[in-house]
């Protein structure tokens, strides 16, 4: 069948599944899944930009998404005046010192005369000295800030701007980090980029978990501002109550549905924009060149294309999209939880989405994001039901049965792994393969 027809059928099937969930479980559950599908789709698009356009394996998706979440906090949370008064300026000085020393280190690496070894050591020494200096400046400030109402705040707060702005900021944060790590790790073997990105994302998460003065660390930041109305306010309005009566919903349920639909609307707009931009880029001369480089790096290099610079562009762009999605995710959650960014849940799951959806194909990424997230969520109740059914013959409190039911959730991981392996083996081009391949 023609590829267009196939795509339409695949997406229709996806839609049907979501509707089925709405009917069988509830509309709220279906919409909650939909929203996370949308965000996953955007994240997958970002990863696909790196993988599909340039063949780069980014194992640190989680870290870039976390930076997006950080942006959500720093942009939208109102500033905490006491904390600023007590240590704000000193803390800023410390951060600036750290940033300046890193920049100096990079400059040293580029300009100090001598072999790569000399330059490398020079950069490392400068960075180290800068960090020590930063600690000197920062530590007392941090102590003071964290002492300000630790139960409620204990951090500097943010800019108090509308949270939607943070989506752009999240992209910017991630892009900056990507630029830094890309400068170091690109141009080497692809495995190195994977490990380096794994490393940077673990550092980012560590940093966010431990630097309470920045975003409360593991105490989390909740009560983040929303771009959509609150359920409680909706429940009080007349039109919602009337609508609820008309359709035989409870007011609470309807308000929840409306909130989720509002988010969905916002997310769909963002997804559409990102998708449209990605498609334009893919089909542009720039995109064709990127793919030519990906398919034959040696030849492209011989033709004079600066492969590493191109890779850096792609890496930064893709990471920006991931950061954007990360900010959106934290907005949806309303809570910034550094502890929730785990490699299995985040990075590698997104990779399954990219591969299953179709590497190199933007539409495929969206479908992959939807499909895999859907199965990841639904696998839990389905898996549990399956195990309960299989063990129904056993005594109700047999240790084995209890153990199996408790750990049924972990079969999700194994199943996802099997799905990834099967797709890689039998359908490596994914559900929606790259055009022209």
């Amino acid at each position: 069948m023609s590829s267009n027809l196939r795509n339409i059928l695949l997406f229709a099937a996806m839609g049907a599944l979501l509707i089925a969930v709405g009917v069988v479980q509830s509309a709220n559950v279906a919409l909650a899944i939909l929203n996370l599908c949308l965000i996953s789709a955007i994240m997958t698009l970002g990863v696909n930009i790196q993988w599909g356009y340039a063949g780069l394996f980014n194992a640190g998706v989680m870290g870039f998404a976390a930076l997006g979440g950080l942006a959500a906090v720093l942009v939208s949370f109102p500033p905490v005046p006491e904390a600023w008064a007590v240590g704000g300026s000193r803390a800023m000085l410390g951060v600036v010192t750290g940033a300046v020393s890193i920049v100096l280190a990079i400059i040293a690496f580029k300009t100090v005369p001598g072999s790569r070894r000399v330059r490398g050591w020079a950069a490392a020494v400068i960075a180290l000295a800068g960090i020590i200096l930063m600690r000197f400046i920062l530590d007392p400030a941090v102590e003071a800030i964290e002492a300000v109402e630790p139960a409620r705040t204990g951090f500097l707060g943010g800019l108090g701007l509308p949270i939607v702005f943070s989506w752009i900021a999240g992209g910017a944060f991630a892009a900056l980090a990507a630029w830094g790590i890309g400068k170091i790790a690109l141009g080497l073997r692809s495995d190195y980029l994977a490990i380096a990105t794994l490393g940077i994302s673990e550092i980012i998460i560590y940093f966010l978990k431990n630097e309470d003065w920045l975003a409360r660390g593991v105490k989390n930041v909740n009560g983040l501002a929303r771009p959509v109305p609150y359920e409680i306010e909706l429940q009080k309005t007349l039109w919602v109550q009337e609508l609820a009566a008309q359709f035989d919903f409870s007011v609470i349920e309807l308000s929840s549905i409306i909130v989720k639909l509002s988010y969905a609307g916002l997310f769909i707009v963002v997804l559409a924009i990102v998708f449209w931009l990605s498609e334009r880029a893919l089909k542009s001369p720039w995109g064709r060149m990127m793919r030519a480089i990906r398919d034959n790096e040696v030849a492209a290099s011989a033709m004079g294309k600066d492969v590493t610079w191109r890779h850096l562009q792609v890496f930064v762009l893709g990471s920006a999209v991931i950061g954007l999605a990360g900010a959106m995710l934290t907005t949806l959650d309303g809570i910034f939880t550094p502890g929730s960014y785990q490699p299995l849940r985040f990075t590698f799951l997104i990779w399954v989405m990219v591969i299953v959806g179709g590497s190199g194909n933007n539409l495929g990424s969206i479908l992959g994001g939807f499909a895999i997230w859907f199965f990841w969520i639904e696998a839990e109740p389905i898996g549990l039901a399956l195990i309960e059914f299989l063990t129904s013959g056993m005594a109700v409190d047999s240790a084995l049965r209890v153990h199996l039911i408790e750990n049924a959730a972990h079969t999700r991981l194994a199943t996802m792994g099997v799905v990834l392996l099967l797709v890689l083996r039998f359908s490596p081009r994914g559900l929606i393969p790259e055009r022209g391949k």
């Binding site: 063949g55 692809s190 673990e202 590698f348 049924a408 392996l421």
Partner: protein, 337 residues
């Protein structure tokens, strides 16, 4: 004079002994990773979970032995159970090679594909291990806990500072030394070992020389599977077993391998100790040591700690970055780029 000795003992207790143990564990893990890289030419992200799998089987066998009343005296019973873990892990590695990796060798897939495949296997193993043994902490070390207790040391020497050496730490170091010696003997003195080095060095020429690639691949998995089981068990004995932690070991292990020169066995071992000691040295609070070493009663303010212990993992990453900047081929110029 006693002050200096006290300072040394303090360092030994908190840096040297733990560093030797942790470094041995990293070295064994990195050795496995580097051999897979050298022969099969890809980075196996699933090695951490392979270690977890090996430890898990050993734990199950240990429990079985303990139920039967079989112990190993002062040493952990897990050492008796270890062969079972090794066999199971090797079998699993060979199975995965047969049903997954072999196809990609035939297709001459590029290294990133192998990496993604190893991520798939990571998922499967991760889920499998958690499903079988559950995600919670398991302490399965038994036998005598300490070779040397801090209090006994203080009584023996009359010093203020005590030196404690856990049995698991001693076991780790001794086992690591034995295993490393065996592997180096194998690689340098046996025909099969040399054929593996030849295959890793120059695949085409090795094939021309009549070296059987299937045999080389199988032996690689046997060795690295055994290494994973041993490293995983030792780590679990020393620090308690929790499936979740093994995913976090991937970064230090790869950092060790890259620092030493990926593909070079000697480098992997050296790298393991570099990373372990760096982690400890950079997050150690030097307050008391400085107090001992400076004349008089002066004690420095604050802990004199460069990085908080939470940042231990960050250290391996920083080392990795420095290596990539300064000398990507690592200390011993492994095969790379």
């Amino acid at each position: 004079m006693t002050d200096i000795v006290n300072a040394l003992v303090l360092l030994a207790n908190f840096v040297l002994v733990p560093g030797l143990a942790y470094g041995s564990q990293l070295a064994l893990g990195a050795l496995g990773v580097t051999m897979i890289y050298a022969v099969l030419r890809f980075s196996n992200f699933a090695h951490g979970e392979t270690m977890s799998f090996g430890a898990m089987i050993t734990i199950l066998a240990t429990w079985w032995l303990q139920e039967k009343g079989i112990t190993f005296g002062v040493l952990p019973t897990a050492l008796l159970a270890l062969p079972v873990g090794i066999i199971a892990t090797v079998a699993m590695c060979l199975m995965f090679d047969r049903i997954v990796y072999r196809y990609y060798r035939r297709e001459k897939a590029n290294p990133v594909t192998y990496l993604i495949v190893s991520v798939g296997i990571l998922f499967v193993l991760s889920g499998l291990v958690r499903f079988i043994i559950g995600p919670q902490d398991r302490v399965f070390a038994d036998g005598e806990r300490f070779i040397m207790k801090a209090r006994a040391f203080k009584q023996m020497t009359g010093l203020d500072q005590g030196l404690a050496i856990k049995t698991t730490q001693g076991v780790t170091v001794v086992t690591a030394v034995v295993i490393v010696a065996l592997i180096f003997w194998f690689l340098n003195r046996t025909r099969t070992g040399k054929s593996m080095r030849a295959y890793s060095d120059n695949e085409d020429l090795a094939l021309l020389s009549g070296i059987n690639p299937a045999k080389v691949v199988a032996i690689t998995w046997v060795i690295t599977g055994a290494l994973a089981a041993i490293a995983g068990t030792l780590y679990g004995l020393d620090k308690g077993y929790k499936p979740f932690t093994y995913l976090g070991l991937v970064l230090p292990i790869f950092a060790s391998a890259i620092v030493g020169g990926v593909g070079n066995p000697l480098g992997a071992i050296a790298g393991g100790f570099v990373v372990a000691f760096s982690e400890l040295l950079l997050t150690f609070a030097y307050k008391r040591v400085i107090a001992y070493l400076t004349p008089g009663d002066w004690i420095p303010e604050g802990l004199v700690q460069l990085l908080s212990t939470d940042y231990k993992l960050a250290v391996s990453f920083v080392i990795l970055v420095i290596v990539l900047l300064v000398k990507p081929t690592g200390m011993f110029s492994g095969k790379t780029l």
